[in-house]
Subunit: 193 residues, 2 copies
DNA sequence: CATGTTTTGGACCAATTAGTCCATAATAAT
DNA sequence: ATTATTATGGACTAATTGGTCCAAAACATG
């Protein structure tokens, strides 16, 4: 009793994540999930246990994908400052493009469930930590390279940048205006000078 | 057919707002609402129409309360820069104190419903606009007073500060650590130098 | 006290929720 | 071809959802 004989579990989790991302946890129903994951109700429960279990797994899945993306970006040999800037630019353009207002999955989860779902909160915290650590490494590198003010505390900068990116997503949801968001991104990055 | 003979509508909306604030829109049930608002199901529907109508009214109510608070703060004769700083300080301490992790109601609403609820999205956008305009006025005053860099675009700064405050709330939800959040707030405010 | 107006509890509704279970169907192994 | 395994559709719960409705209770007014 389990999932189809050959069945791409990570792809299913990816689909589940997409649904949670678009609709939020509460607003996502079982039928939404089994529809997106393309398995039967029975297989769903046999394989994943419960809606909440899938939710946690989706958060974990998200963390894996950003870890991959992030290490790809950090590996580029462009100056670290440029990489950080392009992170903000990409956030702005994603938020302003058609259908891009889903924002950041972690961000959405943090706001919707962190207060009432300790298990999820822990995973989400871990996700933010990944972002922060990535930015920390980039900031330190930028300081060595000379693109970022060397006297500033890199940990504080990393925390600040993480928070700034999240702020951008939130205001972008209510008002996805390119000009506004560019103002925010540009101003936020002046801290690195 | 209506509400109780003497009935404080704004107080009821305030209670409704508290519930939506704590639990989110989807996770709030009718019984939650009529419990908090202290009226019967019949009176609820007679007076307010529907859950969604109450939700919109609660957002409006929130906007009224922040407008009031905000004009009180702006009226203080302390330097504008100090007022902005205390806004961030208060955000940090609220997020880190026991039970303060609800964050900002507008922020929560933006993340949970803006994408799928145009009517709410419009009200939420208006709420952010109030914040932005308030900060804009403070920034301009700060620039005149000399506490804030006069060469920077006050509109961009206001947008940036609004976004920063929201970012603070989001990361605070997942990780309500005073040190982290202080780092964020302190760093964010250096933009005003 | 009687009349007219408000307000309410709670019965009721249809839809939906997350979740269980099993007989059947599909597949694989022998 | 037979057997053993695996997966599925869908019937089935029990609870809850938002919402309607009305007879009775509470109240105010005369």
């Amino acid at each position: 009793m389990a999932r189809p004989r050959e069945f791409d579990t990570t792809e299913a989790l990816n689909q589940a994540m997409q649904v949670f991302w678009s609709k939020g946890y509460e607003a996502t129903s079982l039928s939404d999930l089994i529809g997106a994951m393309k398995l039967s109700k029975s297989s769903f429960y046999d394989t994943f246990g419960s809606k909440h279990d899938v939710f946690l797994a989706a958060i974990e899945h998200y963390k894996k994908t950003i870890t991959a993306q992030v290490s790809a970006v950090s590996g580029l040999d462009a100056p670290a400052r440029k990489l950080i800037e392009s992170l903000f630019e990409r956030a702005v353009s994603r938020m302003t493009e058609e259908g891009g207002q889903r924002g950041c999955f972690l961000n959405n989860c943090a706001v919707e469930v962190a207060l009432h779902d300790p298990a999820a909160a822990k995973l989400i915290g871990g996700g933010f930590a990944i972002m922060e650590d990535t930015l920390f490494a980039l900031v330190e590198r930028g300081q060595r390279e000379g693109g970022i003010a060397p006297d500033k505390d890199p940990r504080a900068l990393a925390r600040y940048l993480t928070s700034s990116l999240n702020g951008l997503m939130v205001v972008g949801k209510a008002n996805p205006d390119p000009e506004s968001l560019s103002d925010v991104a540009r101003t936020a990055l002046t801290v690195l000078d």
